[in-house]
Amino acid sequence: MFDYVWLLVAFPAAGAALLLTWGKESDRFGHLIATVASALSFVWGLVLFIGLLGRDGDDRSITDSLFTWFSSGAFHVEMSLVFDPLSALFVLLITGVGTLIHVYSIGYMEHDERRRRFFAFLNLFIAAMLTLVLAGDYLVLFLGWEGVGLASYLLIGFWQHKPSAAAAAKKAFVVNRVGDLGMALALMLMFAQFGTTSIQLVNDSVGSASAGVATALGLLLLLGACGKSAQVPLQSWLLDAMEGPTPVSALIHAATMVTAGVYLVVRSSGVYDASEVARTAVVVVGLVTLLVGAYIGCAKDDIKKALAGSTMSQIGYMMLAAGLGPYGYAFAIFHLITHGFFKANMFLGAGSVMHGMNDDVDMRHYGALRKAMPVTFATFGLGYLAIIGFPGFSGFFSKDKIIEAALGENLWVGLAALLGAGVTAFYMTRLMAMTFFGEKRWRDEVHPHESPRVMTIPLIVLAAASVLGGLLLLGDWITDWLEPVVGHTEHHELAVPPIVISLIVTAVVAVGVAVGWFTYGARAVDDTAPTKVSPFTRAGRADLYGDAINDVVVVRPTMALARGLEWFDRRGLDAFAVGVGSRLGELAQGLRRSQTGYVRTYALGIFIGALVLTLALMAVTF
């Protein structure tokens, strides 16, 4: 019975289909259907997971070949799902967090007249995301990949009446498409090289291909990963994506979808193992994004954007880990999972705050909310401790391991990661302080209140997970668990024992917290953003000019080219074709004038014609 992997996808997919086609009468209970679908998926995932636990390490993989998607010539694509240790973890994360967010959304979206559709899209997302992680073929993965992109597009732009939301949705999709370019080319390269796009086969055979192929594959996949995971240089869409309803930000743009890039890299371990260059590229991308994200996180007053910057940064950590090779894969996934918990927790917390603050997102209008919203404060606080890596909390273990691994790889990389940890502590402290501590800076009409039970219970559950997530590392469980997928992890021998590194990290974090507290917690905060700020702050507020650069380098030239070509097509190419016609018309008018009506002219024509004809015939011969 354990091979019904497809049921995992089927529940939410059916939910989505049902809700999208059912009429208005399902408005009343549509959200329940969606939540149940997601929960069923979670339960079934749990059953399968337990089934997997009961097996030997070598046998922990269920392949469910559904049908041939398409097959032509040498190209054969099987619609196959693989439930193995890696995808199992993801399934649980996605359906678990997903279900909680469904529940939360019941409250959050209560007054939205299009709530049914919102839940349909959420279900669609769950289905697509599960397809992504369960795929046994890169093309099926791509199906899920684009499916989550679509769901993300729909949900970012859910409040379509806001032009900014619609624009953000489009931007997310288009930027992701740039990444997809890499994905698509990688898929083609696989087909050309190996005649298949099966994940298993490609990763098994990539070692026997030339290094160039592995590098190309690695870089192309990385491009795809950058798009989906908002890594530099394709990071710009994520901040705008915060236009979506907050549960969406929590589920898609924090906990699950944006980590798909990390999943892709880990899933393609065979490719990256075969190419040093590609691995290095992953590390560089991860590192840069880690710092850029953190930097942006420090400069934002919008609570969701600050969290979004943090998300970029944390995914940077994961990428960094994934780029470290077999040693880092497991830690990347580990951090991914813990991050999924605490970031979802904090986003939902932020949503709860906004719920109480009439959807205001400016932290400068918050302050002292810890009393107005005790549950939210408590759960958010736990998430905060987890993300900054407070000892004992999940983030402590996961981030620690990455920094440790990075140091083992390269001192400078490690130091940069360490710096990132300090900055993380700073901006998260800033966020905490501005939101929950200090003076009230509420607007007059705002009366903060705690959110309803349906929203706080998920917060509590997630907070618990944020605290306890570190348990996965107990006895190196997670590394052992993932070993069949990502290969054996060799422990790096470091110059200093791990405990020393932990201490250093904790110290750096403490410094970050202190700076943050003394800047924002202990002092009064302006309720409008100061305008006289350093260029560094301005750069941070402008997302380090990511949009501006895109605009100048890509968007405007493309649009100008498009408009120019359209003009050229009408006034140039078509005008040429039509012009040939009009020239012929003019020529015709000219020739027409030869018909003067004078009989003597006609006779002249005959005479000259006769003369020419005679001479021509003579000329041919003589």
């Binding site: 027409r592 018909q595 009506g597 004078y598 009989v599 003597r600 006779a603 002249l604």
Partner: protein, 97 residues
């Protein structure tokens, strides 16, 4: 022999040029007749050259045809003259372009 042929060609050309330069329809028509007669000259001289009578015979046919043409042609020109009081070929250019 060649002299006759040359003369015939000259007459033919004169006739042709006459058609091109004269305005009076009657004279234009006479020029065509001149060309016909140039042809007759050529026919007769070729007949002489080849020593058979076909050419000379043909000349008679041509004369008959020319007479028929006169009949038709004058009828047309006269009717135009009645309508327009003019036999200038340049006056008749209503049909053009």
């Amino acid at each position: 022999m060649n002299e006759y042929l040359a003369l015939s060609m000259i007459l033919f050309t004169i006739g042709a040029v006459g058609v091109l330069v004269r305005r009076n329809a009657i004279i234009v028509f006479m020029c065509v007749e001149l060309m016909l007669n140039a042809t007759n000259l050529a026919l007769v001289s070729f007949s002489r050259q080849h020593g058979n009578l076909d050419g000379q015979l043909a000349a008679f046919f041509v004369m008959v045809v020319a007479a028929a043409e006169v009949v038709v042609g004058l009828a047309i020109i006269v009717s135009i003259h009645r309508a327009r009081r003019s036999v200038s070929v340049d006056d008749a250019h209503l049909l053009n372009l």
